[in-house]
Symmetry: D2
Subunit: 178 residues, 4 copies
């Protein structure tokens, strides 16, 4: 795309770029860790248990930013290792095609996803995990749910920002939505 710098309306000049950089959508990944059986059927879904700033318990997907000059699949690996530990053995998909995108808006109701701090657009993947998971940092625990449990109102209401919807979309994609 070298040649179209100054002419293409789809590409900004350095000045325009600088001016708009302060407010732009931020690229994220969401990963749904799963256990699969020998034939690839999802048997369990892993959710992180977190304690929020107000002491409120919530369950979350593996989620985080893509950094400058980082490939999406490397961002997936980094966040999975950060949240599940170094021996989780995640199988990042061969295809870069996400099963969906989740558009987290700072305003409620534009999409099913919401993030009060920013406009984040997340590429969502289902990632089979074969090894031992040892949650680190702020995550208290990783709990494995059956697809039935993961889609239940009990678990859904413990998820925030629309991640419960995203989880159900993942279950639908792997053919395990109850």
């Amino acid at each position: 795309m070298t040649e179209m710098t100054e002419t293409s309306p789809g590409w900004l000049t350095p000045d325009e770029l600088e001016a708009t950089r302060a407010r732009m959508p931020i690229l994220y990944i969401d990963a749904v860790p799963v256990r699969v059986d020998e034939a690839g059927v999802v048997t369990r879904v892993g959710l992180l248990l977190r304690i929020g700033s107000g002491g409120k318990v919530s369950r979350a997907l593996v989620s985080g930013r893509v950094l400058h000059h980082e490939r999406v699949r490397d961002a997936l690996m980094r966040h999975l290792e950060k949240d599940l530990g170094p021996v989780a053995l995640p199988q990042v998909p061969a295809s870069p095609q996400p099963f969906t995108i989740a558009e987290y808006f700072p305003t409620q109701g534009v999409t099913p996803y919401h993030d009060p701090r920013q406009h984040a657009v997340s590429l969502a993947y289902v990632v089979p995990v074969a090894g031992d998971c040892r949650p680190r940092q702020d995550a208290l625990d990783l709990v494995w749910f059956t697809p039935q449990e993961a889609a239940s109102p009990l678990v859904q209401q413990e998820m925030t920002g629309g991640q419960g919807v995203l989880l159900k979309q993942a279950l639908a994609h792997v053919g395990c939505l109850p």
Copy 2:
């Protein structure tokens, strides 16, 4: 995701956010405009003809940034209208799942896609276009190619930044790669 602001390692504090915002991947869309027959078979692929800063002719997909607080499908509509005119009648896909993502790196060779100015991650869609196309702004023309022609070396070498590869991926996705 309200409750996990301060604790989640996947989310940055306001200070960290400010510091990294200057260098982060920029979210783009790429659209491949196509003509389809009654049964949905792609019969033609539309490519923009542009004259670059050095006078070099190139062919390009419809491409551009997603703005802050703009849905991806609204960005698709905006760039399609900008490049194809107001009566092109694009049929933006019902599903937000892109057929692939194109990671344009400022460094050559990390991925098949390259953009010397920035790290852009583009969500790529095939978009059937039913109406009249009237290229505007800097685009000289829109030319409709058969899938066979679009994948030919002649057309491929007129595309830059890896968009030729992305075009072939689109053709593969719709079952029209020769």
Copy 3:
């Protein structure tokens, strides 16, 4: 695949073929008719209203067999025209990739889908419909539901054979699962 007739274990001899033909999976398509807004967002889902042999009311997707020497997209067109009438103007997807496959087993519980008469494997597509729909033949009516209504227990319990699950998978795929 001409050369591997007699040698490939994946291909049967004419005799074996004859013997197994009596019992093999039957290829189907399932189409979820939708109304979309200008930006491609699904606003309504169309369900057929049928009266079953026992007088029981049920709601159904557009569904049917793929015939010998018929392309999958032609089967989609044929069943859509048969069920929605000749001026429904369905937009069959450019890509042949189904959003999922539904494996209807004659035995309950193998998959979420069930058909007591046969083993059918169905390729499932979401199909935007732009024109007037006039249900024909045995379908009494076509009713347009919001995504919210379509996923509700009320509508779900009127669908049989697992088509309610398939409908929710379609809604998840287009980002409209409540």
Copy 4:
């Protein structure tokens, strides 16, 4: 779908079923075995080397029928084990969504795929393989190619029935089409 047996035009009566069973599309799977690196990038594609009935050498994907009352993922496992041996450790995808479908017609030119013996519709998947591959039965060998080699004219011309096109579609799907 119990209630709609006699009424739905999409479903045949037992007599019609019997009459048409002799000539109907046959359900297949095609699997593209791949080696991936730690981040999921495809580094090699595995192709079977076969000697056809006329002594002609050809390269082929793992391919074969889905049997009555067999799940698609079990058919994938069976054909992969049959062609790659019992310790290949294939990772059948969690999602049943194929990356494309290949419609092999007995008549040339209807689609890019051709099978002179029958109308077969194949669900195509990319399958990472982690273990040792020991081709069995009629396959002489399994050769691992780089994506570059797999898409080259040399390899493409050794593939028959349109499997070369299908292989390129698989490469496009995983972002490795040269």
